[in-house]
Symmetry: C2
Subunit: 212 residues, 2 copies
DNA sequence: ACAGCCATGTAACTTGTTACATGATTTT
DNA sequence: AAAATCATGTAACAAGTTACATGGCTGT
């Protein structure tokens, strides 16, 4: 929903044509988000479909410099939508769709996988990412325009999350080690049940008895 | 790519049927990732399509309890893929696809938007998320099985990223304030250019002269 | 003439997601 | 009989992404 709303917000400043939106987006984000040109037109089509933008593909008057110009204009509904996007927070923390978290959660349940190795691999990669990001940070001077400001902002964001991830990885490993020393978190065997249609017998304990 | 690989990794332990995979996934992730049942079958179909899994839909022998059982078995290619997934780090930091970062980058370039307000809204929402997460953290005892371990792991991950975001928001606001006091980061007007086919005249300065 | 950028698309594809249909079985 | 759960799917859609086709115009 980011690209969609970003383009919509730019269009709230005034009508644009497709290629122009690409350069505007690039300028404002410091070319931070890799954006294919064709994606602009796809997104614009979907915005038109949803009534947030209108497409005016009118040939300019038949003078000497007659060109087919295609402009996209935001609608009232689009303005409301853009304003709403900018005034409402991004919701990243109500449900987790973090690939690393789910990966580690799965990894600790697999018998043939050493979760500590997975953690260590991730730690090295994340440290490498931080190093690479820090290089671009230190070379950089203070932002002189919005484009450089965007670059700085995005790099800092990546760094912040990466460092938080390192701390979290340490905590996970510590928790895992103590849990393993208590023999609590073992590999999860598959439930060797055959598929049985219908409600299972509640009297038949599956593996909850193993906990007690 | 998370669900796909998670299911594949579970299948590396042994053949499963669809519904079983759902419960296995739920157990191992502590019901952390909201997963529709139908999505299991979609994902399995795609795994079959890619040759990572085979589907054996064989009727069990014509005895008294004959049922149509549909099992999914991992292939050699699937095992390699699962192993590769578990041994290679998640790449979250080479390019940024963070919605908040792009949103702020866009916001500071919009004339009708006060970036400080956007930041403050986000700050409040993130603080609220941390509070909500901390509640579940404090109530929780030590993990006693993989399911609870997964819950803890995911909650901690969310917390860590949320707190990193708060720190980052403060830095962004500080940077923005000083940049604005120097009159550097102003609203980005649209380039009022008409679409012109072809390469633009290099001699014609667009708006680079404004910087100098 | 030719390379290279400006400009507009189209078509196909990816993963994730939801809503729905269908039926079997078991508990109440 | 009815409700709840087990079990297998299908169809459609979302956003993002890429590859490609097609021109026009400009500088060399």
């Amino acid at each position: 929903m980011s690209i969609r709303h970003s383009l919509l917000s730019i269009l709230a400043q005034g009508p644009c044509y497709g290629y122009q939106l690409r350069s505007e987006f690039d300028r404002r984000t410091g070319s931070t988000w890799p954006l294919n040109v064709g994606q602009i037109y796809n997104t614009l089509d979907r915005l038109v479909r949803d009534g947030l933008v209108t497409k005016t593909s009118a040939p300019v008057d038949s003078g000497p410099d007659a060109t087919q110009q295609t402009y996209y204009t935001i609608t009232d509904a689009g303005k409301i939508e853009a304003e709403h996007w900018l005034n409402s927070p991004v919701d990243s923390y109500s449900v987790s769709r973090d690939e690393l978290a789910i990966k580690l959660a799965i990894a600790v349940t697999l018998p043939d996988v050493d979760a500590h190795t997975v953690i260590e691999h991730q730690r090295q990669a994340t440290r490498g990412a931080i190093d690479a990001l820090s290089l671009t940070v230190e070379v950089r001077e203070d932002a002189r325009d919005a484009s450089q400001f965007a670059e700085q902002l995005v790099t800092d964001s990546l760094c912040a999350h990466a460092e938080a991830e390192l701390l979290w990885l340490d905590r996970v490993e510590a928790t895992l080690t103590t849990a393993q020393s208590h023999g609590l978190v073992e590999a999860f065997p598959l439930n060797l049940t055959k598929p049985k249609r219908g409600r299972p017998a509640t009297t038949a304990p599956t593996n909850e008895a193993a906990i007690a």
